[in-house]
Subunit: 351 residues, 2 copies
């Protein structure tokens, strides 16, 4: 039997890779640094996901349950890889829990780290309790508690969602676009309007990036069916008059300054490179991109490969990514890794 | 030996699926309606691809050569599937060339059809020879002939690229965003500026959707390194004063009408559903989405599945898609199809 394939990270990409490998009879070992599997959608308590509309706890939670019940997938949680040596087909990994694994290949599905809004202090997070992040709104929804102002528990009557917090922002060293926050924000805006039909929801944007078929299902639907309002603006700061939050900036379409009161302001936070990427780079001997995401081959013939042969990468580890493409990339890396360890022939030889 | 897997469509997704399957020892049969493999990048003569920067003829051409040299991939070109019956694991496909195939599963990688700019007549395509499409500019570059005005062969001094031609346009029944035309246009603009450093290139946009890491490599690089100019505008029409093309519309940031002369106007054309989708839907017994793209499962657990079990789908068949994600989806569908036909165990049983 060919050696198992090591998968690092138990979010959507890693779960997809593990399921795909076990589905074709190939053993895998999944190592997750957190005590639970599921990645950001589970650990951060996401609500309904884009674009499937499934609840995270059902969709990604279901992937977790299936992996946990799968005898072909060994799991090590609360655990990291501390050493990775050897050659393609014959790697050896040491884990922080003392385990040593002989594996044929590795797939890094190590995801991203949410941008921490305290790094954008002029937009009020950390100063005003009713300035929250998209992740916090997801938690309000998924917990069943509903959309409430953290300061006093009231239902907000006016909510502003500010896009590109920690994205497209050179001032704070984050030039990239986080790809999915526009669509996630459209989705959250609809959820707020559904729960609180009297609440006015405004989205402040630079460019609305509801690419592909998201255009209809999120951008137009949120406006036409849910009456969400979109304002192209440059936001300067979020302050308070003691009663309301005040969003100040410039409406870039009418070229006028705006000063608008809200009950709640939501930061659509972006995706940072995983904070562990430097350590991962060192342990696995792989290169990072200039922004700090895991480097991937640019050639179409070797998509999903890192700078080290036999070490693959999938999902948001390589840059901001959607859940469905993370899943596709996890499966794509799985078949590439399976080919490397010998494919069906290797299984056949020992069968 | 398990039955081969049928792949319909020989573009990036189909080639990736075929390579991935053969790489793990699984036979595939690739059916392509055109006389040659390669899909849009080869058949439409694309130049340097986004985001790999590779020439289409090298990158996708290389994938074609490897598939053509691969004994595990049988090919039928200039040929369509006319009948598809049976059950998962035991389908029978009849081809227009008279062949009958017994296959275990099918993957539809049938791609898209370029929007035909004559359906947007007020923007001058078909009326003025120097109004061209992004595909035509790609051909000018990939053929080595360079960027020239079709009317008289001169080098243009001023080029306008109009985004969202056949996208985000309800007037002509195409509400979706075509996802990659913004980034492709940034890329083409840089190519024009590289060949003709004296040429001024303007991009007229609604929203610039250079999502994820494209933001740095295309949007900012095109402005800072290549001096491409971006104007947020609503274009009303493209006319001519007899010497120059005239782009008329409104600059939506300064709320002023614009009337600007150009030597060449480029339509950034979008992705329509494949014109054959109704026939495909009927032959394979699968549902289409409301826009006419192939329907895909919305659940993360069954991504890449169609409404018919055992028939998978990947790439731009399901909606506007990038080449790299089409490739990832092709491979993801491959491993799912391989699992369906029995995975490694099935190969092992008969080995």
């Amino acid at each position: 039997m060919s050696k198992p394939i090591l998968i690092v990270g138990g979010g959507p990409a890693g779960l997809a890779a593990a399921s795909a490998l076990s589905g074709i009879g190939q053993a895998a070992v999944l190592v997750e640094k957190e005590p639970r599997l599921g990645g950001a959608p589970i650990l951060s308590g996401y609500a309904k996901l884009v674009p499937s509309g499934e609840w995270a706890k059902d969709a990604i939670g279901g992937m977790v349950s299936r992996v946990e019940a799968n005898p072909l997938v060994k799991r090590h949680t609360g655990c990291t890889v501390t050493e990775f040596t050897g050659e393609p087909g014959a790697f050896r990994a040491r884990l922080s829990n003392g385990t040593t694994l002989d594996v044929g290949a590795a797939i890094l599905c190590t995801g991203f780290t949410h941008f921490d809004s305290v790094n954008k202090p002029e937009w009020g997070f950390g100063t005003y309790p009713d300035v929250v992040t998209t992740t916090q709104v997801e938690q309000m929804i998924s917990s069943g508690k509903g959309i409430r102002c953290p300061s006093d528990g009231r239902k907000p009557e006016r909510v502003a969602i500010l896009l590109c917090v920690g994205s497209r922002d050179r001032q704070i060293g984050r030039e990239w676009c986080s790809k999915i926050c526009c669509t996630v924000s459209c989705n959250i805006a609809m959820e707020i309007r559904e729960e609180l039909p009297g609440c006015h929801v405004y989205i402040y944007y630079m460019d609305i990036r509801t690419f592909g078929l998201y255009e209809t299902n999120y951008y137009w639907r949120s406006q036409e069916e849910f009456k969400v309002k979109y304002i192209k603006a440059r936001i300067a700061e979020v302050t308070s008059d003691g009663q309301k939050l005040i969003v100040k900036g410039e409406d870039t379409l009418v070229k006028r300054p705006i000063t608008i009161p809200f009950d709640m302001v939501v930061h659509a936070i972006g995706m940072d490179p995983n904070v562990d990427n430097k350590r991962l780079s060192s342990v696995f001997g792989i290169e990072l991109q200039q922004q700090g995401f895991v480097g991937k081959a640019s050639s179409y013939a070797s998509l999903g490969e890192t700078s080290r042969r036999g070490v693959f990468v999938a999902g948001a580890a390589t840059g901001p990514e959607t859940i469905d493409d993370s899943i596709a990339q996890g499966k794509a890396a799985a078949i590439a890794a399976f080919a490397l360890v010998g494919g069906a022939a290797a299984v056949a030889r020992v069968a």
